[in-house]
Symmetry: C2
DNA sequence: CAGTATCCGATTGGATACTG
DNA sequence: CAGTATCCAATCGGATACTG
């Protein structure tokens, strides 16, 4: 049992690691923010509630599949509420919860950082690309 | 030209939208943070510089491919520096730049938010799952 | 030690069509 | 209007093997 391949050792490490990540709040949140549509939905809803079709229009080009998937996940996490008005035709409104509004503030912080530092990133890229070519 | 299918209209919207997103700093940053390994590498390097193999050990289970890919991207963006010491065998150190340390502060803010609110998210999930089952 | 190159399985997400 | 269900193409990322 002392003989374990590198792959086996990595596999084991990865398993433990994943388990650790699953329980890590920061990683869970990053997973959410990572989702392209999540941040857009939250931002879109920040000013106030919207209907399903309004959201579809706001998030240009989103497929119904992804929109529904995203909304369900956010509803489950308590980020937003889904309100059905049983008129004809039905009307469904989505609105940020207190938690959701709190999250939108964090997104604002991300936005601030991005706007403050994006220039540096662009400059760094130019330099990297230029230097890379010159180094050959 | 008045006749355009729904798919075509969505496609056009998506194209413009993508172009918009490409130029949006916030979205660029979220794209970065979205990468599972990026935040981990930045966090790992926050205390101080590390060698390639040290990073590989710290980020349990990462494949050389992903590690290199992540490091290259972060180097290009000016988040970290790559220093080669031409000894035998070669030694390569990775260290956060000023920009990288600034980013690590943002990650800390994310961490704070996550730790503060993750309980609410968990509760919301339990309620959602329970309520969902009861509603059937 | 610090990667690079290739293959390939798994996941993602868009298109499309249909339903209450 | 507000979704659901299915199919499928593309992308991602891990395993593996090889190099300076």
């Amino acid at each position: 049992m002392a003989t374990m391949t590198a792959a086996q050792r990595r596999e084991e490490a990865r398993t433990e690691y994943d388990a650790f990540l699953k329980g890590c709040p920061t990683n869970q949140l990053l997973d959410r923010l990572s989702d392209k549509w999540v941040s857009l939905v939250v931002s879109a809803l920040a000013p106030g509630p919207l209907r399903y079709s309004d959201l579809a229009r706001r998030l240009a080009g989103v497929s119904p599949k992804m929109l529904t998937q995203t909304l369900r996940a956010l509803e489950r996490d308590g980020i937003l509420t889904r309100t059905v008005t049983p008129s004809v035709p039905v009307r469904v409104d989505y609105e940020l919860t207190e938690l959701g509004r709190s999250l939108s503030l964090l997104l604002l912080a991300v936005k601030d950082w991005a706007e403050t530092h994006i220039e540096e990133v662009w400059e760094a890229r130019e330099q990297y690309d230029a230097g890379d070519a010159a180094a050959s």
